[in-house]
């Protein structure tokens, strides 16, 4: 059985809930020797310090050893080696491969050829399932449920793969989405069609102010990148309209939490960091527990194994 994790979009509701329970165990006790004697490879064909550190920390805190590369310039890929050859070579050394690649579909292909499980740590604009898993875990943690939530997505909804994956993964839980984005970065039609097909309610907003935010359980902020705009006049016109400022939280619900996949530039005012609604740093911390769960699941370690674990430090 291929235990690789390429996308979370195919996961059932039960599987998502199962992984959340696993992550809870790791949040309770993150330091264990559950993976002692195992080798985890982290192959980053595209640099991503944040994701790599999170995966490597997850492996290290479970007692595994980590090999790999952080910078594609040092690999044989630059000498013309195919992805297949690199994956087959590393499969001889490691029990599991965590890979980030700039090409879309690279992780799927690797999972079909590798004799060891592959975890997709991002493949181009396509999928980034560990980010989705930590988002789901954070939503569950802050709301006590994934059911019937009002999730507001703000900023770059066109290219932001995190919002697309989250949208698809939430389909099991009867969410209502609210999309707030400039015209050039609107939620693509294909995802609105996806919502229609799965009976997911969504609303599109022009305004982004205290009255709109008052309806939110989750406010998922993303970065509006200048380079996404073909018309720089348009960028100058809209860039400040999607910035979150402290007074805009005046009518927010008590349970509302602000998430952001990070890195943030200026889309969340720094004054908000100390507000009880801010949750993006805890969200990043959850990445550790979510990734511990994903690595264990890919290696065939069950929730039962984790609950009966005698290696807790």
């Amino acid at each position: 059985m291929n235990r690789s994790l390429v996308t979370i979009a195919d996961h059932s509701r039960e599987k998502i809930e199962y992984l959340i329970r696993m992550a809870q165990e790791f949040e309770r006790k993150p330091n264990r020797l559950l993976l002692q004697g195992r080798v985890v490879a982290t192959l980053f064909f595209e640099p991503s310090t944040r994701t790599r550190l999170s995966f490597e920390t997850a492996a290290n805190r479970l007692g595994a050893r980590v090999i790999g590369f952080a910078d594609p310039k040092v690999t044989s890929g630059t000498k013309g080696e195919t992805l297949k050859d690199t994956i087959m070579m590393v499969s001889n050394y490691a029990d599991i491969i965590v890979m980030r690649h700039y090409l879309e579909g690279a992780a799927r292909y690797a999972s079909e050829i590798a004799p060891v499980p592959i975890i997709n740590a991002g493949d181009g604009a396509n999928q980034h399932p560990s980010q989705t898993m930590l988002d789901l875990y954070t939503i569950y943690q802050t709301q006590g449920t994934l059911e019937n939530l009002n999730i507001f997505m703000v900023g770059d909804l066109k290219y932001g793969r995190t919002v697309h994956s989250l949208l698809m993964a939430m389909r099991h839980f009867n969410p209502t989405f609210h999309f707030i984005a400039p015209d050039e970065l609107k939620m693509p039609e294909v995802y609105k069609t996806y919502c229609h097909q799965h009976n997911i309610r969504f609303v599109e907003h022009q305004d982004f102010d205290a009255d709109v935010i008052a309806g939110a359980d989750i406010l998922y902020m993303t970065r509006v990148q200048r380079e996404r705009f073909t018309d720089l006049m348009e960028y100058e016109r809209v860039k400040d309209r999607y910035l979150l400022k402290l007074p805009m939280l005046s009518k927010a619900r008590d349970n509302m939490r602000i998430l952001h996949p990070l890195p943030r530039v200026n889309e969340i005012e720094y004054a908000i960091d100390d507000d009880p609604h801010a949750y993006y740093f805890q969200q990043a911390r959850n990445g550790l527990f979510a990734r511990q769960a994903l690595i264990c699941d890919a290696l065939g370690i069950t929730l039962e194994d984790i609950r009966n674990d005698k290696t807790i430090l």
């Binding site: 297949k84 700039y102 879309e104 579909g105 690279a106 292909y109 396509n126």
Partner: protein, 151 residues
């Protein structure tokens, strides 16, 4: 026989592929690897057709294709008609049918797809038969079947 009709010797054993759109003829030839065959092949190009205006036809002696091979044809020419000939008789007529999976036929239109950057076979899934929409197994990009380029 009227003089404008094409005179081709009758086929005793083999396959006739008729009603090929002329602009797709050479793709059909490539797809079925006819250039690598040693059997007798007759190709008619820019022939008159009541149904289509112009059409192309291919007659291949002593060759019977598998359904899988023929179904690949549906990507470039979904409306061709096929006749299987044995002892000068048409023993079977077939229509091609778009398969649920297309392996190694279609090129992905996403330049950042792994299949365009690695020596490997492409794979597409038919997601909407009516609208003719396929998606790449690897990068998930959608394509219209009538707009594809072959790999």
């Amino acid at each position: 026989m009227k003089r404008e009709q094409l005179i081709v010797s009758a086929l005793d054993h083999g396959t006739v592929i008729d009603h090929i759109p002329c602009e797709r003829l050479f793709e059909v030839i490539n797809l079925l690897h006819l250039d690598q065959m040693s059997s007798k092949i007759t190709i008619g190009y820019n022939l008159k057709s009541h149904k289509m205006g112009t059409k192309s036809i291919i007659k291949i002696a002593d060759k019977f294709f598998t359904d899988e091979e023929l179904n690949q044809l549906s990507v470039v020419a979904p409306n061709v008609s096929l006749s299987i000939i044995r002892d000068y008789e048409v023993v079977e007529k077939k229509q091609v049918c778009l398969p649920d999976e297309l392996t190694g036929i279609v090129k992905c239109n996403n330049p950042k797809c792994i299949t365009n950057n690695e020596p490997m076979r492409t794979l597409f899934h038919l997601v909407d038969r009516e609208k003719g929409i396929i998606t790449c197994h690897y990068c998930n990009h959608e394509q219209q079947i009538k707009e594809v380029t072959l790999s």
